[in-house]
Symmetry: C2
Subunit: 417 residues, 2 copies
């Protein structure tokens, strides 16, 4: 049937299907399965009906950072081709909280908090998405109406073994750590949301692999067309190791001040540059490729590429003027105080990660840890131009890293193994 639909298309339409397919698969970690995405695109072009692309959101954490924009940028591509985004606020689970009371993190939210958080999402997402092509859905609308009878029907459509395949469940079983039965409901509900929304596609990070596949599973069980699943890579944060998140304080928030945003981008480890270029910018596919290639061949200096990355990111969230200004100020600071080439180089034996206060004292930039703490709290310490925010931060040392204390004191690390 999929092939039949495809055969009804004109040559130009077929080319359009392939163009979109190529676009959506670009940068994705996994598309499950590509043939169905092709068939859905063909059907959409035949019928003129846009596809519905679902993204589920946790209503408890509305601070949007570049990590989130990996999926948002992908959603934007769908919108640009006429498709509709379904933002699904998981307010039902948010309102329930954690019935075992074990997870303090999962605190119970009021209706008012959920609504406010959803608005914050919507407003922040507006910086990436076309708000005219976004539907906002709250899953409490249908989930709160489910009765025990409905729940038993839903539960009758999946086996215990299938649920236990989820990585974290499997791990806990292996380690004999308890799984409370209610935890099995979260994937069920996520799947059921797709049944209700008739989603064509669901997006998620690779860590959502299991949950996002639930939509396919339950849509099929309820006799509906299965959604395609697109899994996007996870973006590591400024530390270069952990997934970007607010709790790890390794993030670039999309609401942050342009200078902060630029400075934080400049503090990125070189090793992450390519990934950020691919996943966190709105550059054209061709531009991305060229920039990455230039980096590899040495045709562009890593610092210049990073400046371009910073400028591109600031431009996305604050516009071109702010991007220009952020770049200028960053350059000025370095030129005014002492050109980067003139910074004192300090030699560092070893490597790894060092608490920021230890680093400042060891480098003799400050006389004591308490002075170091005070200076950080006053905003007087910068690492690669980005303000050090926390006195508890651990710094992943890097060759060429520039550490600044106050307006004039700079050192540059020379790493030795």
């Amino acid at each position: 049937m999929q092939q039949q639909q495809f055969d009804q298309l004109t040559t130009a339409e077929k080319r359009e299907v392939e163009r979109q397919l190529h676009l959506y698969m670009d940068g994705a970690e996994e598309v499950i399965p590509p043939e169905e995405l092709r068939a859905k695109l063909a059907k959409s072009i035949l019928t003129g009906e846009p596809l519905k692309i679902k993204l589920g959101l946790d209503p408890s954490a509305p601070d949007v950072h570049l990590g989130h924009t990996v999926v948002l940028n992908k959603l934007r591509q769908f919108q640009e081709n006429g498709h509709i985004v379904q933002l699904l606020i998981g307010d039902f689970t948010g309102k329930i909280g954690d019935p075992t009371g074990k997870s303090a993190a999962r605190k119970q939210l009021t209706d008012e908090e959920v609504r406010r958080n959803a608005e914050t999402y919507f407003q922040q997402f507006g910086k990436v998405l076309d708000q005219n092509k976004v539907e906002l859905h709250y899953n409490s609308k249908w989930l709160k109406r489910l009765t025990l009878e409905d729940v038993i029907e839903l539960a009758g459509k999946i086996t215990v073994a299938r649920l236990m395949e989820r990585d974290d469940f499997e791990e806990r079983i292996a380690m004999q750590k308890p799984i409370s039965l209610h935890e099995f409901f979260y994937p069920l509900m996520q799947g059921y949301d797709s049944v209700v929304l008739d989603s064509d596609i669901e997006l998620g990070g690779t860590d959502q692999h299991f949950n996002v596949l639930m939509g396919r599973h339950f849509q099929e069980k309820y006799g509906k067309e299965k959604q395609v699943v697109i899994l996007m890579p996870l973006l590591e944060g400024l530390d270069g190791i952990e997934k970007m998140s607010k709790s790890k304080n390794n993030y670039i928030g999309i609401d942050e001040d342009p200078h902060e945003m630029f400075g934080k981008t400049m503090s990125l480890p070189d090793s992450l540059m390519k990934k950020y270029i691919h996943l966190a910018t709105d550059l054209e596919a061709e531009e991305k490729k060229r920039l990455v290639k230039d980096l590899e061949t040495g045709a562009v200096h890593p610092r210049d590429a990073k400046m371009l990355l910073g400028k591109t990111i600031v431009n996305m969230y604050h516009g071109s003027k702010a991007a220009e200004a952020a770049e200028q100020q960053f350059k000025k600071v370095f030129q005014q105080n002492s050109a980067p080439d003139n910074i004192t180089a300090v030699h560092w034996q070893g490597g790894g990660t060092v608490p920021v206060t230890d680093l400042l004292v060891t480098l003799e930039l400050l006389p004591s840890k308490s002075e170091a703490r005070r200076m950080i709290q006053n905003g007087g310490v910068k690492i690669n131009g980005a303000k050090a925010e926390s006195i508890h931060a651990d710094i992943a040392l890097e060759h060429g890293m520039i550490i600044q204390v106050g307006k004039r004191k700079f050192v540059k690390l020379q790493m030795h193994q």
Copy 2:
């Protein structure tokens, strides 16, 4: 606290607690735990509040047989001491049926069918129970009102590992046979029923071990006093092997005709006599003990003991006149036709189990299997005085077994190893 309550009792009251405790534990396979039963009895005597004894019933199978009376007789003991029986009709699950559609047995019942079946139970149970001390409850009353939020709260109070301990789940996991998630809800619901009913005690057969313990589990989780669990032995049917059940056609129904009831009792294997005396009669504890002892010492002939058992059982369900008449008729048949002592003995090599038609032909009581089938269908074949009901029955051969065809033909088996 339990000890404190007990200490407040007078000596006579303490004796009463011990008397009841002894009575209820007699014949039970397991009481979980006896100390709590003692404490509940003490509290009941102190406060004058009767205990509430729950029995859950499947609304799909209202044909009551002696197997059911094992728990009913125990319930009757509680009633005789002033306590209240809670009959819980599991109509919610009955109305849902099996969502996977796999189990044809678990067919969906209408409200009307459930109500009719419940009435049948109530009327038949009236032969054992005092209907004035019975509360009839339908669990759909509260279960149909549960929302997904309630279900998640309930599910948050138990772990997946705990549920998988149930024997049949454990087996299926070991054999990699699927368990549908909805199956986990049945024990949850049974436990929740006890929470709603504030049951003090729940009765069940030993095969209900896991499900009945759910009441204790959830009552505790909901901050209530835990019910005591009393597990009664399962009664084997006329074949002496399988648990008595309608589907195995090895049962004595409590609605059966007195002569049929008496005859079926006479067909019991000798090996089951003691168990039936203990579990299926309303004889006083002392009488039971004496009869069993007389059997063991040979002071009473097994056939006479079986006649007494038959008479006792018929008396329980049809009164003393019918019991007398059934005994007389049974005796008359044997005396009229030929005294049991005069029956032709046939020697049988081997043993085990033989299809009834094969048996009749081998013993030359009938010339062919088709004649044997016809005679059985016409009700003309009796084994130990009980009519052979099915042409497919397998007969467990026994030394001294009397096989009768028509009015006059009798043989008695002489077994040889």
